[in-house]
């Protein structure tokens, strides 16, 4: 035996420690995986050892292997073992491993609850700290719920180190258990003013994190944060607060006004760049939120821009980057002030750092104007040529397109230039964004009518060089451009100069190497083109040319018929047949062109992407209703495909407008024109934003469109857009000259009465070259192109959108430490929750009006707090803002009844304040409140999500509808009290153990000392015994598993086993504890008497009326009855009291008569019939034990007597 032990310890001696493992892995570079799997086998052996040191060493190695990517979740149980070691060394290893590999799916995690709780209340701050740290990484909803109260206690720990950690971890607890936010929030708020800067910083951190997700709930904290901001010197805290203000200002513009000054001061004074940067950011946010002008508004912007310029000019790339980032925020609202720094930003485009170049690109987006667009794009095009990486080049490409197309091509004055830019972009090799360019080409060609001729000419050139495009850029995105080119040439074929040539280009054999969807477009548009050629030739009276075209099609189309792509194949065969038919007709010299082009008559208008969704469902149309009878089950499956085919056929049969004759078409066109005229969303040529320039004399005469472009276009490689830049400049120059002339003339007319300022060329003065008619996308009538409010319903932070100003209800108290047996499937203490809630929701009728008034006044007051604080800024008569209304709406409707008097009192004070300070505003304000009351009324339903849910768990299970509010009830009775501590208790039966009850004792420390080493000792009786930890004797006390800092209360639970439950019991006990304050520690004692009533052995058990009737019929129950006189309480209330105090549930209720049921922990059935007379109540009882029934009825009598 001894030898074996020696052997064991010697074996252990050769266990690898972590460093050996690391060295080993290094030495086994070639067969690392094999070595590690060998090590894992060893670790598995080590984990089987009894020694905790060996296990800890093994777990330590596992943590390292986890980092290398090995799954170690199999060792979760061993990790828990190491976590529960008593030595800090091992505990720390265990918690580290747990924090690395535990997650919500780890099943053994529920075993840790008690261990963590023990560590949290450990006297060693290191144990507590390490447990908190670990928990922060693997907290689950269950752990959060069970430990929330313990952590909350730690927030008032004496050691700042623990306080700090406890405060931080609360955020994780809130995330996992949102119900804990309201009860914990007051203490969290307290910690904002903690003497320790670390704790303060942690609290700021948590609140900022919370407020970032749901800012409106934290507006009321603004004054506090403002105070912190002006007093704190800790830059980390300042940064957080300033960031928080950035999130709050959009909700409350007045806050922004108040902030500007201190922020500006900080900007001027601080040397820390990080703080400066955050200040600038928040000032920007403030400026964005202030839509209305403010006197020193522009000064602040100037300051920001100027500071940002310093950052951007700095040699430090980080500052440069952030400067650009912040600049882009200013750009959104104040583009003018940024535009003056165009030089700087263009300079950044040349930076070697890609991140900086990208940021600068973002900025350019907002900096363009009509005037600068061409110049900027020219510069970007130069960068495209230089760019090395494809990603950056693609980014440039998308940016060029974004910049040009933004807000409906607002800045483009010359679309010929834009088209040529797009054509130039097609020369980019290897870009992924071919489809983007294609989409732009289509968009411009469709929406800008005036450009079609030019666009078609360009596109035909592109098609002509198609083999070039396709071959040089094998299978890359750029060939998408051909999709657009083919479509444009087909659709607008009437503009083609040489349709024959284009037709031939589109039918080249090389085309078949293109992707299927492009070929399909080719085939379709070949037909369109062919139709227009036929028409031209027939009109010109050249049937031979038309026949030539037919011949060409007949020769070339078969190559598409053989295509592997179904769409191409189908279209090609259709068209081939059609062309064959045309050929026959042509042979008979029948004119076919008219008919053929009728196939493509009518105009295609762009449709807004959301248009389909916006089409209103006509009245009386139920989209979910079956159109035909729903298919019965008897319908065999083989019928289905048939139906499908049938449908398909119908679709094919649907006539395109082809059959429609010319007259009909004309009629339709007219109708459409009419419709468009009455459609406000269809912007026609007349109200176009560019229209007003039409009236300007001289513009029409500018002969821009007449430039013969066909010649240079045919020379590939020539940068076309440059020419346009030059032409455009000339045009603008001429335009300006004309204008000047005009002005001069005007001036002359006016004489010398006025001295006109020098004519400066502003954006508005530049008239576009084309009479552009940008057709907007079509939308159904009355539909607004709005953005849908699509919030993610699964957002975890949504659950934290909780009103924090609402007074705390009893029901929201955090669940406290429980013995395991107390965790019954339906914990009885939950029962009292709704009753209390109920009361607070519906105050008694006679009090109602008063309460309502005070409640409303209180709301007003709360709103006023913030209002008042905010209104102390310079502009005194600030108009009531919409945001203020939201604050007040957020204020709760629930007022705890006991607050009533206090509320009224405070209210008076507030009223006086109001009147003293703002006499003028008061009437206005009252009006406002009234309005809000109404609004709130409307909102009430939607706001009260929580209470509604609670309503579902009413105590009166099968009860009649609630007519009257219930009084507050608490099941906790006072137990004992002395100068240090107050004890209240409640006894509840256990569902699992048939002879156990749980006593929950709330200990409230109302002294100034820390209470520790609390121990509860109870003198057992023969019948009732306290459950003690194993191995302790009958006389030992049971330790209370927590300490109580001053002013804190907590709940401990103790389990008692009972033999007979038919009688009430009394037990004597003592609570001993050490009270510790500055002066020292004293040992104290407090005696108490625990009373176990018969009712406490009952468990609220629902029972249906049928089962209840059967039970009564069985006849083996003994009967007894009581009668109580002089009861004025309503029947509803009486029942609620019996339910609550004696754990009954209502089976049935008819008028003033109700049957009730309950069951004891030992399975006795108890049935009651409660009847209410004029002023008396009679209770008849039936129970399987006569003694018990007698005792119970006595208790019920006692309760009723109090009513």
């Amino acid at each position: 035996m001894a030898l074996r032990m020696v052997k064991g310890s010697i074996d252990r001696m050769f266990d690898k420690n972590l460093q050996d493992l690391v060295r080993g892995i290094r030495n086994h570079k070639e067969d690392e995986a094999k070595y590690i799997s060998q090590c894992i086998d060893e670790i598995k052996q080590e984990l089987k050892q009894d020694s905790i040191a060996v296990k800890a060493n093994a777990v330590c190695k596992l943590t390292y292997l986890q980092m290398l990517g090995y799954d170690i979740s199999w060792a979760a149980f061993n990790i828990i073992e190491v976590m529960s070691a008593s030595k800090f060394t091992f505990k720390r290893i265990g918690y580290l491993a747990a924090s690395q590999c535990f997650h919500e799916g780890t099943d053994v995690i529920m075993l840790t609850t008690n261990q963590i709780r023990k560590d949290l209340s450990s006297p060693s701050q290191h144990d507590t700290g390490v447990a908190l740290t670990g928990l922060s990484c693997f907290v689950t909803p269950d752990l959060a719920r069970d430990l929330a109260n313990d952590i909350m206690t730690l927030m008032s720990h004496t050691k700042p180190y623990i306080r700090k950690k406890a405060v931080l971890i609360m955020y994780k607890v809130f995330l996992k258990h949102p119900e804990s936010l309201r009860p914990a929030f007051p203490r969290l708020k307290e910690k904002l003013e903690d003497p320790d800067p670390g704790v303060q910083s942690a609290a700021v951190n948590v609140i900022c994190e919370l407020a970032r997700r749901n800012p409106k709930n934290y507006l009321s904290l603004a004054p506090l944060f403002f105070k912190l901001m002006t007093s704190s010197t800790n830059n980390w805290v300042l940064i957080k607060i300033i960031k928080l203000f950035g999130a709050l200002t959009p909700l409350e513009p007045r806050l922004g006004k108040k902030l500007i000054e201190p922020l500006t001061n900080l900007i001027h004074s601080t040397s820390a760049m990080s703080l400066l940067y955050e200040c600038v950011n928040t000032v920007i946010a403030v400026l964005i939120s202030l839509s209305s002008g403010m006197p020193n508004h522009s000064a602040s912007i100037q300051l920001c821009v100027q500071k940002l310029r310093i950052l951007i000019e700095d040699s430090d790339q980080n500052l440069k980057y952030l400067g650009l980032l912040a600049m882009s925020k200013i750009l959104k609202t104040h583009p003018k002030s940024v535009q003056s720094h165009k030089d700087l930003i263009l300079q950044c485009l040349d930076d070697k750092d890609e991140s900086i170049r990208l940021r600068a690109l973002d900025l350019l987006y907002g900096m363009v104007s009509k005037k600068s667009l061409m110049e900027i794009v020219k510069k970007l095009m130069a960068h495209v040529d230089k760019a090395e990486g494809t990603t950056y080049r693609d980014e440039l490409l998308t940016k060029i397109i974004d910049i040009c197309s933004q807000s409906n091509y607002q800045h483009i004055t010359n679309f010929e230039w834009y088209i040529s830019i797009l054509v130039e972009l097609t020369r980019l090799e290897g870009t992924r964004h071919g489809h983007l360019i294609a989409a732009q080409m289509l968009d411009v060609a469709i929406r800008v009518k005036a450009i079609r001729k030019f666009a078609v000419a360009q596109m035909s050139v592109l098609l002509d060089s198609a083999p070039l495009v396709a071959s040089s850029t094998q299978r890359n995105g750029i060939c998408e451009v051909l999709y657009a080119a083919a479509w444009i040439c087909g659709e607008f074929s009437e503009h083609l100069q040489e349709p024959q040539r284009t037709l031939e280009a589109m039918l080249r054999p090389k085309v078949t190497t293109l992707p299927g969807h492009i070929q399909a477009v080719y085939v379709q548009n070949v037909l369109k083109l062919y139709a227009s050629i036929l028409q031209q030739e027939e009109q010109a009276g050249q049937p031979e040319a038309a026949q030539q075209a037919t011949q060409l099609l007949l020769e070339r189309l078969p190559q598409f018929v053989q295509s592997a792509d179904l769409e191409v194949q189908e279209r090609a065969s259709c068209i081939l047949q059609l062309v064959k038919h045309v050929q026959k007709l042509q042979a008979k010299a029948v004119p076919v062109a008219e008919e053929l082009s009728a196939l493509f008559a009518g105009e295609l208008n762009p449709v807004a992407p959301k248009a389909q969704k916006k089409v209103p469902v006509p009245e009386g149309l139920d989209l979910d209703a079956w159109i035909n009878e729903p298919p019965s089950d008897s319908d065999s499956e083989d019928e289905r495909p048939k139906a499908m085919f049938h449908e398909e056929e119908q679709r094919h049969a649907k006539p395109r407008q082809a059959e429609v004759d010319e007259e009909e078409l004309a009629r339709r066109r007219e109708a459409r024109r009419q419709e468009q005229a009455s459609n406000p969303f269809y912007i026609k040529s007349s109200p176009s934003p560019h229209k007003r320039y039409q009236d300007a004399p001289g513009v029409e005469h500018i002969p821009v469109v007449q430039i013969d472009l066909s010649v240079p276009l045919k020379v590939p490689g020539l940068p076309l857009s440059e020419q346009y830049v030059k032409l455009e400049e000339e045009r603008r120059h001429r335009q300006k000259l004309e204008k000047d002339k005009r002005k001069k003339r005007k001036k002359e007319k006016r004489g010398r009465r006025r001295h006109g300022s020098l004519p400066t060329e502003s954006d508005e003065d530049i008239a576009p070259a084309q009479q552009v008619d940008i057709v907007t996308e079509e939308m159904p009538e009355n539909a607004l192109p709005s953005d849908e409010d699509d919030k993610d319903p699964n957002d975890p932070y949504r659950a934290l959108d909780i009103d924090l100003d609402k007074p705390l209800a009893d029901s929201e108290k955090l669940p406290v430490l429980k013995h395991r047996n107390a965790q019954a499937p339906k914990p009885p203490e939950k029962e009292d929750v709704p009753v209390v809630e109920k009361k607070s929701k519906k105050p008694k009728k006679k009090e109602k009006t008063h309460k309502e008034r005070s409640r409303k006044r209180e709301e007003g007051r709360k709103g006023d707090d913030l209002d008042f604080w905010l209104s102390t800024t310079p502009p005194p008569a600030a108009a009531p803002s919409p945001a203020a209304a939201t604050v007040q709406l957020g204020v709760s409707a629930v007022t705890a009844p006991k607050d009533d008097s206090e509320v009224t009192r405070r209210e008076q004070v507030a009223d006086e304040d109001d009147e003293a300070l703002e006499p003028k505003k008061s009437t206005q304000k009252k009006k406002k409140h009234k309005k809000e009351k109404e609004e709130r009324g409307k909102d009430k339903k939607s706001k009260k999500r929580r209470p509604e849910r609670e309503e579902a768990t009413e105590p009166v299970q099968n009860g009649a509808p609630q007519e009257e509010p219930l009084p507050p009830m608490s099941s906790y009775c006072p137990l004992a009290e002395n100068a240090y501590v107050k004890m209240t208790y409640d006894v509840q039966g256990s569902l699992q153990e048939d002879s156990q009850v749980t006593v929950s004792v709330i200990l409230e420390n109302h002294s100034r000392s820390l209470l520790k080493n609390m121990e509860l000792s109870v003198l057992d009786s023969l019948n009732t015994k306290m459950a003690r930890p194993e191995g302790s004797s009958v006389h030992d006390g049971v330790p209370v598993p927590f300490q109580l800092p001053p002013g804190v209360s907590n709940e401990a639970q103790f389990v008692f086993s009972v033999q007979s439950i038919v009688m009430a019991q009394k037990l004597k006990g003592t609570l001993s504890f050490i009270a510790k304050d500055e002066d020292g520690a004293t040992q104290e004692k407090l005696d108490f008497k625990l009373h176990f009533s018969c009712s406490s052995y009952l468990l609220t058990t629902p029972c249906c009326s049928d089962a209840f009737a059967k039970l009564l019929e069985s006849g083996d129950l003994s009967v007894s009855s009581i009668k109580v006189d002089g009861i004025s309480m309503s029947f509803q209330n009486l029942l609620a009291r019996i339910c609550f105090h004696h754990h009954f549930s209502v089976v049935e209720r008819v008028d003033s008569c109700a049957s009730m049921y309950s069951r004891s922990i030992q399975g006795h059935h108890v049935c009651l019939l409660v009847k209410k007379g004029e002023s008396s109540v009679s209770v008849d009882g039936k129970c399987s034990d006569a003694t018990m029934l007698g005792n119970l009825l006595e208790e019920v009598k006692g309760t009723l007597a109090q009513c």
Binding site: V22, T63, I93, K165, D316, Q317, N318
Partner: protein
């Protein structure tokens, strides 16, 4: 919130991986690899921010990193963190590591005094505290809660962080430094700086004080592997070829494990 903290060396070998959001191990490794490739491409003289993109979370997240000689420190943070603040935090973390590990290294040296005395002793004098680490940077070590001023503690002032020389020498001397994968202690230090993804402490003195207190506590408990380690080092000092493969002591048969890995 900080979403993840990754430390890896110039070859992409992870030195510390800390996620504050659950990812399976394979994904973690993938993220480390991707991040490594992202930062590796970047010159030392370009900005230290990277838009996270597809990596973790999405567009709200940024990668903020610093490169010290052989190691990359990458923090993945969301928009609630101040970018420059995080850069400072990395600096605090690194300085704390340096400060704490110096002690460990010295202890290590004392512990191994019996072996290679001359060598180690030489190393001690050479390495001793911050002769090479901070003298050159000078301004780096400046009070607590040092904030990014752009001029004082920017890493660009010391493009070749002086830390590295020190590490190289230590390494040459065979000591473990925190650059080596001594995971747990680095984690313990990190835990005092960042907790559950939120900044816990930025004051280096506080952090160091905590760590030292914990180390003292650990020492008083005898440490993790004091006994076996001592035994092993004793074995290591025995001239290996003289040890018989099997020691026969009656019926007790002690298998001597292959010791080559210790050498």
């Amino acid at each position: 919130m900080i979403q993840a903290i990754l430390v890896f060396n110039n070859h992409g070998k992870p030195r510390l991986v800390r996620f504050y959001q659950r990812f399976p191990e394979e994904i973690q490794q993938q993220i480390v690899r991707e991040t490594f490739h992202l930062v590796l491409k970047r010159d030392d003289n370009i900005c230290n921010f990277l838009e996270g993109g597809s990596l973790i979370g999405g567009s709200d997240y940024k990668l903020i990193y610093r490169h010290y000689a052989t190691l990359y420190f990458v923090f993945c943070v969301d928009s609630s963190e101040s970018e420059l603040g995080i850069l400072d935090l990395i600096q605090v973390f690194v300085e704390t590591l340096d400060k704490c590990f110096e002690n460990v290294c010295e202890l290590d040296l004392i512990f191994h005094m019996d072996k290679d005395r001359v060598d180690r002793a030489g190393c001690v004098t050479q390495l001793s505290p911050r002769s090479c680490s901070y003298k050159a940077a000078g301004t780096l070590r400046r009070g607590f809660a040092r904030m990014y001023t752009g001029s004082v503690c920017s890493h660009r002032l010391c493009p070749q962080p002086p830390l590295c020389h020190c590490w190289k020498e230590r390494r040459a001397a065979g000591c473990l430094t925190w650059e080596d994968p001594v995971v747990s202690p680095v984690h313990y230090i990190l835990q005092e700086v960042v907790m559950g993804g939120m900044v816990l402490e930025t004051n280096m003195n506080e952090i160091v004080a905590q760590i030292e207190a914990q180390n003292r506590l650990e020492k008083s408990e005898g440490g993790l592997s004091a006994a076996p380690a001592r035994a092993v080092s004793a074995v290591k000092n025995i001239n290996l070829p003289e040890i018989p493969r099997n020691i026969n002591l009656g019926d007790l048969n002690i298998k001597v494990p292959n010791l080559s890995q210790f050498v």
